[in-house]
Amino acid sequence: MAIPIIIIIAAILIYVWFVYNSLITSKVRVSEAFSQIDVQLKRRTDLIPNLLETVKGYASHEKNLFEKITELRSTLISAKGAKEKAEANNMLSETLKSLFAVAENYPDLKASQNFLELQNELTDTENKIAYSRQFYNSNVMEYNTKLQVFPTVTFARLLRFQPAEFFGAEEKDKEPVKVKF
């Protein structure tokens, strides 16, 4: 009588053990992918002060825009979690677009080598953010699917696994900032 019960319990425990390990693996993948996004976001926030300095030299009276960008930059730096960061990042993208649109009115600025380089760097960073987001989201999808599949779903609650947040992007934001001269 006792032996079959022990075997069944052992089998269940081994199963839970495997499920737990596979969930942890996926979760680690998700957070690794997220740190990739963070690297790119950091690079972006590092570029912005330089950009502002350069633009200020040519277009000093666009003060409102500078203040707004500085503010959004610190919002992005202090943002926590995928959703908040994604939102802050999107707002920053929008405002940077208007900055580059404004730059159109200043021929000297447009011709500045420094400005062009910064603009290239920023475009490249935006592309990299887009790609790291794609990698992150595919990992999140895999992890969340694992969590919701029966019978894992029953253990996942018990073991306190939470679904991960997608790094959202508005559709129109998928294209990098393009400024035509």
């Binding site: 490249d124 790609y131 790291s132």
Partner: protein, 298 residues
């Protein structure tokens, strides 16, 4: 999930091929040494030699492949645009940045090699850079990075070296049969005669076996890499039109040979063909038209 299965299948196949190589070489040497009248110590020597070759090619296949392809490494400043494309797509695949090599070749083509993603190399020809636009180039690089991610590059590297080795060895032994066989005293009895026949058979068979191994490991993965590459760029048309451009160029890649042809995104030996049904059995690549059709229907 499927990618993790593909990875472990590739890793297992790599070990299997390394093992089969040792078995194959030792068996062949055994048969030859019987046929030509040498003793067993030669077989032991062959066993050690084959084992060393097998492990050596695990670590050095990429360097050998790059050397035979006559490819040179480049830095970021040499071609920032190509560098950025590779950088971005590796981020999208979650891979470390591979090294980039360039082959000075007018014929457009590309391949990837390296035993794992940390030792990966993506190699393109100058012809490819000249003829493709950015979106097409992204399609090709994404295809190559999928090979890296799947560990196709590990298996392919091993296959290139070991199969190439078998081909050379077969050639060599064929010759030693032709020219050296006569020198031994005649009338060694029936057994020697039988072994001689087996020896000849092996000499004829081994290139065929080698080719078949090469095929078994190579054909389907092109479709797979096309598909997962397009998943990364989200734009299958880029790769489709790149394949069209590459295949429309009929010049063969000069440094390509039977041993490394299967590494390339499109068979680099075209122009030598007048394809009959039989030779299409030995194709290392699926028909380009099929690949383009599948990409366009995605």
């Amino acid at each position: 999930m499927e990618i993790y299965q593909a990875i472990s299948a590739n890793k297992n196949k790599t070990w299997l091929i390394m093992f089969l190589f040792v078995v194959f070489i030792t068996t062949v040497v055994y048969v030859f040494s019987k046929a030509l009248g040498y003793g067993l110590p030669l077989v032991g020597l062959a066993l050690i030699f084959a084992g060393l070759t097998s492990f050596g090619s695990f670590y050095y296949s990429d360097k050998l492949v790059l050397a035979t392809a006559n490819a040179k490494p480049i830095k970021k400043d040499d071609n920032p645009e190509l560098f950025r494309i590779v950088e971005n797509l590796s981020i999208g695949e979650g891979l470390p940045m591979p090294k980039i090599y360039i082959m000075n070749e007018p014929s457009p083509n590309a391949f990837a090699t390296g035993r794992d993603p940390n030792h990966a190399v993506v190699c393109v020809t100058t012809g490819l850079l000249e003829r493709l636009d950015k979106i097409e180039l992204e399609g090709v690089i994404a295809h190559e990075l999928s090979h890296v991610k799947n560990y196709d590059t590990r298996l392919m590297g091993i296959v290139t070296i070991l199969v190439g080795f078998i081909a050379i060895a077969a050639n060599f032994f064929m010759r030693s049969l032709w020219f050296g066989g006569d020198r031994r005293e005649r009338g060694g009895g029936n057994i020697q005669m039988i072994f001689l026949l087996i020896g000849i058979m092996f000499a004829i068979l081994s290139p065929i076996i080698a080719t078949l191994i090469q095929l078994a490991v190579s054909r389907k993965r092109e479709y797979l890499a096309d598909a997962s590459g397009s998943l990364l760029t989200r734009y299958p048309e880029g790769l489709a039109s790149a394949l069209e451009k590459i295949s429309s160029d009929k010049r063969p890649v000069r440094s390509a040979s039977n041993a490394n042809a299967h590494l390339f995104i499109i068979n680099p030996l075209r122009g030598k063909d007048a394809k009959a049904w039989f030779s299409s059995l030995f194709d290392t690549h699926p028909p380009v038209a099929d690949r383009i059709k599948i990409l366009r229907s995605m």
